[in-house]
């Protein structure tokens, strides 16, 4: 009979044990210790030694043995077997009426079902983690204003301060690629609710005939192709941030309407007489000199004054030499992750190359350079050869930037300094120093001799 019960218990993967009123093991089925993967059970083991999961539940266990509580259960307890395989079991405690109060402990091996459930959950969570990773890396790109330089610290300081004042229009100015969009998103993130909208419109990318309808929306029949009512981007941004990029390209005809909107936060859709009100923060950005545009009658002065209440000039990357490597490292982490490469940084030569470049395309250009370098990188560090720069632009910019001071300059000194700088940047490597200055090695050595430079 006992064998018969054991056989049933084995097939059903259920085991049992009986504990006395002092919680000492008095009897157990043969498979009990196997199900809970505990080989150290002895006849005198207490329930607390066998099941550490009951710690903290002493009151409930006592209540069950005294028949004050019907049962106590802990499901899906994880246990590793000696072979390192993960098993699951459910533990149920029931009162057992005997001469003295006893406790019936039933353990059920749920490894098969729980493992199946685990596989399904695992897939679900992995998908969600992947989606979150993609989105957080997107945020990472957009939200972090990287760098330790004084200029970048000032940008961060500005963002922190302005984030607390929601009603002010902000004007972001800076060359293309300096991160105006990134700063706008950072202000939005710091000042708005997490799920509030961030609506972006680039005035240069929308045909002037469509831009009014895009921003303000339209009513059915407002113009030939207006077959339905359409919300404008201002309405889409309600409760959040409206980022008007390249505001310098906003058609003059529309500037008055936008100014009116900024004044009272009210507007009408095209073809509608109904006034609509939205609660939004407006951030405008431009790489144009708006003052000059005002002088050229390309931009309304009143609109310029209205949007220029709080402004921030974003520094070009060439003025952030201290930050170039920090930003490059940041992009390395992102693209190494994206392209599944084990690249962890830059060689010293690659750093020198990045630092000696003028970065006319600013951070956007740096990002592209790093992305390309990661694709072609073979080792764990990006080398100088993998950094491909627009050399022609670099030379052109250097030439453009250089002007002779009013009190004149010594060509001798300049030339000597350039040679010394080139040697310093290449750690004394004359071939590479010559290359940096666009000279042959012979010419370079000739000039070293001319200026009595020796290494």
């Amino acid at each position: 009979m006992s064998n018969y019960i054991d056989q049933i218990l084995k097939e059903r993967k259920i085991g049992f044990a009986i504990f006395d009123q002092d919680f000492i093991l008095s009897k157990s089925s043969r498979n009990f210790s196997k199900i809970i993967h505990n080989n150290l059970i002895t006849p005198n083991s207490s329930i607390w030694e066998i099941f550490p999961e009951l710690f903290g539940s002493e009151d409930q266990v006592s209540a069950v043995v005294q028949n004050k509580q019907k049962k106590y259960q802990i499901e899906k307890v994880n246990k590793y077997s000696d072979g390192g395989k993960l098993h699951y079991y459910d533990l149920t405690l029931l009162p057992l009426k005997n001469k003295a109060p006893n406790l019936l402990c039933i353990v059920a091996d749920t490894t098969t079902e729980t493992s199946l459930e685990q596989e399904i959950r695992q897939q679900k969570y992995e998908i969600e983690l992947l989606q979150a990773n993609l989105s957080s890396y997107g945020n990472y790109l957009s939200n972090d204003i990287l760098g330790d330089s004084v200029k970048i610290k000032k940008v961060r300081e500005f963002v922190g301060k302005i984030a607390n004042i929601r009603n002010t229009t902000i004007l972001l100015q800076g060359e293309s690629g300096t991160g105006k969009n990134l700063v706008a998103r950072a202000i939005h993130r710091l000042s708005m609710e997490p799920k509030s909208p961030f609506v972006e419109v680039n005035c240069a990318s929308i045909p002037s005939t469509l831009i009014e309808s895009e921003i303000f929306g339209h009513e059915k029949g407002a113009f030939t192709n207006a077959i339905t009512n359409k919300k404008g981007l201002l309405e889409e941004a309600n409760g959040g941030t409206f980022f008007l990029d390249e505001i310098g390209e906003l058609p003059v005809s529309l500037q008055a309407k936008f100014l009116s909107f900024l004044e009272n936060k009210k507007f009408r859709r095209l073809g509608s007489t109904q006034e609509r009100k939205v609660d939004i923060r407006v951030i405008a950005a431009t790489n144009k000199d708006l003052k000059q545009a005002v002088e050229n009658n390309e931009f309304r002065q009143d609109l310029f004054f209205r949007i220029n209440i709080v402004n921030l000039n974003l520094p070009p990357l060439r003025e952030l030499k201290d930050d170039i490597i920090i930003i490059a490292d940041h992009f390395i982490r992102i693209f190494a992750y994206d392209f599944k490469k084990k690249v962890k940084g830059l060689t010293d030569h690659a750093k020198t190359k990045l630092l000696s470049y003028n970065w006319p395309g600013n951070v956007r250009e740096l990002r592209n350079v790093i992305e390309r370098a990661i694709i072609f990188a073979e080792g764990d560090k990006i080398g100088a050869d993998e950094i491909i720069l627009a050399e022609e632009k670099q030379q052109a910019k250097v030439t453009q930037k250089f002007t002779i001071p009013e009190n004149g300059i010594s060509l001798f000194d300049i030339e000597k300094k350039l040679l010394l700088d080139a040697l310093s940047k290449t750690n004394g490597n004359q071939s590479r120093a010559a290359k940096l200055l666009g000279l042959s090695l012979d010419t370079f050595r000739y000039r070293m001799k001319k200026y009595s430079i020796s290494i």
Binding site: P52, E53, F55, G56, S57, E58, D59, Q60, Y72, Q73, I74, E75, K76, V77, N78, Y88, T114, E117, Q118, R121, Q122, Y125, E126, E128, L129, A132, N133, S136, N139, Y140, N143, D144, I145, L146, G147, D148, L190, P194, I326, H330
Partner: protein
Amino acid sequence: MSEKRIVLSKKICMLGSFGVGKTSLVRRFIYDEFRENYRSTMGVQILQKIVSLTKDNSFGIKLILWDIAHIEKFNRVIKNYFRGSHGAIVVCDITRSQSFQGMDIYLKPYLEMNPKSKLIFVGNKIDLVDKNSFDMEQLLQISKALKSPFITTSAKTNENVDELFNKLGTLLVKAE
């Protein structure tokens, strides 16, 4: 070497969304190991370790760690996991803002069941962010709302992991 004198045993629940690294923190603490592959926990895994709170090991606290699976909804099963807990380590993944949200689902019932429980709020995966530029503001606000200390950790690089459990041990001893 003097033997540890255990005077306290405390049940600790590891709480937090899926994939934040609860199991990794426990594994790092108990076995000093880290697994790159993610495997979601089902149910509960119970492990324990003694933390020495004095240099001469004369005073220790046994932490019985309940590594609980991500809780999608509170039910009877979870209630039994929470019962009698003395402390909780609430873990989030600092690279994933979704993991800071929806904590009420488990924290509210947990605190109702264990009002005197000590909490520590943990921002795990600190190795994945640039510490100089990472904005901690939101996490510090959550920590303030929870009235719990905040600590950043990395189970992967073993940053602050022992410190986390030692800190909790100290809090529990002080509460005695």
